[in-house]
């Protein structure tokens, strides 16, 4: 059913991505590929994996931007991006087959790969470029928030978190329930001013981004080096050393 759920469940699961601490290592993208190529969405096909013109499905891609002009004032911001599990996603409603759907119980947006006809219309409807066609299987694929990991009772409790979150070495990714105002993610959004990407689209992403912290500006101005000491005022010994070294 591609109409959006009319009832909202108890949970709204999503991610918070901290643009202040992300170091752009691509570990989240890599671990995502690793986990998801063998789970719910398996395989994440690669074409020409070891030669020119590689093509393949990735759920998560890490961009790097430069902000605030060029030169010393500019800062580099690493920017991982995957499906934001929007509240009002047209990627669901445009689907003619019912393959693309949003779960009422936790808000996760999923694709039923047995129903998908690979028409690609849902990818056209996503403003964030979060859906990629698996050209071998002829069906659309996207981030599942690691649905086969976060509810997997075979795993120890602390491992039931998306692969990207589990692997991030700088703790730039957080997973939680936005319906609970006291959850880790709700608190982070409140305290750090979490924001939506492209709010003007009206898709109301569940996942949020935290802005990079602004420093006091001390690092942005180039520091002047101390000039070399004037030798005229230096002692006899130092002048002799200078002469010897300058030979």
């Amino acid at each position: 059913m591609t109409s959006l759920p009319t009832v909202t469940g108890d949970k709204r699961l999503g991610l918070v991505i901290d643009l202040d601490t992300c170091v752009g290592c691509h570990a989240c993208a890599t671990n995502c590929k690793e986990w998801n190529t063998s789970g719910h969405s398996a395989p994440l096909t690669d074409v020409n994996a070891y030669q020119a013109e590689q093509r393949g499905v990735w759920f998560n891609r890490v961009f790097t931007y430069e902000v605030g002009g060029q030169g010393p004032a500019a800062r580099t911001v690493h920017f991982p991006k995957n499906c934001l599990h929007c509240e009002k996603p047209d990627c669901v409603t445009v689907c003619p087959t019912g393959a693309s759907y949003k779960r009422a119980e936790d808000g996760i947006v999923l694709i039923d790969h047995d129903k998908c006809i690979g028409c690609a219309l849902c990818s056209w409807a996503c403003p964030y470029g979060a859906r990629e066609m698996d050209e071998h299987q002829g069906v659309m694929k996207k981030c599942t928030l690691c649905i086969d990991k976060i509810y997997n009772t075979n795993l120890p409790e602390e491992d039931r978190t998306p692969a990207c979150v589990a692997t991030c070495p700088s703790k730039a990714r957080h997973f939680g329930d936005f319906a609970d105002p006291e959850s880790n993610v709700s608190q982070l959004v409140r305290e750090r001013g979490g924001f939506d990407l492209m709010p003007e689209t009206g898709y109301r992403p569940t996942s949020k981004y935290l802005p990079p912290r602004t420093g006091n500006g001390a690092a942005s101005a180039p520091r002047k080096l101390e000039p070399a000491p004037d030798l005229a005022n230096a002692g006899k010994f130092l002048r002799w050393v200078d002469r010897v070294l300058s030979r």
Binding site: M1, T2, S3, L4, L19, G24, R55, G56, V57, W58, R61, V62, F63, T64, Y65, E66, V67, G68, G69, A73, R75, T76, F79, K81, D90, V92, T93, V94, C95, P96, T97, G98, A99, K115, I117, G118, C119, A120, L121, S123, W124, A125, C126, P127, Y128, G129, E132, M133, D134, Q137, G138, F195, L197, M198, P199, E200, T201, P211, P212, T214
Partner: protein, 314 residues
């Protein structure tokens, strides 16, 4: 957006087919066209063939064409599903009306009602096709009030040219058909000029600043791509036609789709019935080419929001 040839063929062929079927239905029910077997057979046959070719070609770009039947299920929310349902449903009145015309030589009474239903359903189906594009908030060149009327008028105009041709072939041509085609072409030209002016002057709402939320810190610039090769998103959404070429192709589309057919129709109106067949054929050929270029541009000039993340400006 990547202009897939199957989709261009689909929208142009099915648009002309539905246009022809709607006009045949209206004129037959009104008694303007005689209910003679071969006229009905060729006219309706041509319309149905165009629609069928279009529908078939639209399944070529599916990853899993064997599951295409599933695309009829989500008509509550999806314009693509609605289009599928409408397209198939349209065949029912076409069949009734066609049987009446071709086999019973009767286009009155119940068959006139079937004709009316054919015209209405053809209209509905083309509306659904247009709405697939017009409803996408991610593409400002499609998500505007001119997309739907342009699809309707261009479908009707190309259908009217086919009507001129078919009616001339069977000696039932009337100058009113050529006048109708010319009027629709003029309206179409006005719509396309308004459309091109609109997409050229509209200020895009989204920028890399709003896309990343980093605009508050100043100008945002792409420093590094997430990957070295083109991914699906870039191939599907990233197709861009150079502005210079777009200008030139707009002129080509304008000349082939509107100006040349209008001149040929004027000549046909002026020189009398004998020359209608060759002139009408030329006009149809030219408009067919022109509408394909117009549709190609409709895709190639469409910019998708997701490409902002990949550093597209403007």
């Amino acid at each position: 957006m990547n202009p897939a040839y199957s989709v261009i063929l689909f929208t142009t062929a099915s648009g002309a087919g539905y246009g022809l079927l709607a006009l045949l239905a209206v004129f037959a029910a009104a008694g303007v066209l005689p209910a003679s077997t071969w006229l009905g057979f060729v006219g309706i046959g041509l319309g149905v063939a165009l629609v069928a070719v279009g529908l078939l070609s639209s399944t070529f770009h599916l990853g899993r064409p064997e599951r295409a039947w599933r695309a009829f299920t989500q008509w509550r929310s999806s314009w693509l599903a609605r289009e599928g349902v409408a397209a198939v449903a349209t065949f029912v009145p076409i069949a009734v009306f066609g049987i009446g015309w071709v086999f019973l030589n009767d286009t009155s009474g119940a068959f006139a009602w079937a004709a009316a239903a054919t015209a209405v359903m053809a209209f509905v189906t083309v509306c659904c096709t247009a709405m697939i594009y017009a409803s996408l908030k991610t593409i400002r060149q499609w998500n505007n009030a001119l997309t739907l009327p342009a699809y309707l008028v261009l479908g009707l105009a190309t259908g009217a040219l086919l009507l001129v041709l078919v009616s001339a072939l069977f000696g039932v041509y009337r100058p009113a058909f050529a006048t109708l085609a010319a009027t629709l072409l003029v309206v179409g030209l006005a719509l396309k000029i308004a459309y091109w002016r609109h997409i050229d002057t509209e200020q895009p709402r989204s920028t890399l600043g709003t896309a990343t939320g980093l605009g508050r810190f100043g100008e945002v610039r792409l420093l590094e791509m997430p990957h070295t090769e083109e991914n699906f998103i870039m191939r599907e959404m990233g197709y861009a036609v150079a502005r210079k070429h777009a200008r030139r192709l707009r002129v080509v589309a304008g000349l082939a789709l509107f100006v040349l057919p209008l001149i040929l129709l004027a000549l046909a109106l002026w020189s009398g019935p004998a020359s209608v067949l060759p002139l009408g054929a030329l006009a149809t050929l030219s408009a067919g080419l022109g509408v394909a270029v117009e549709r190609w541009l409709f895709f190639a000039e469409a910019t998708h929001l997701s490409m902002i993340y990949y550093g597209r400006t403007g």
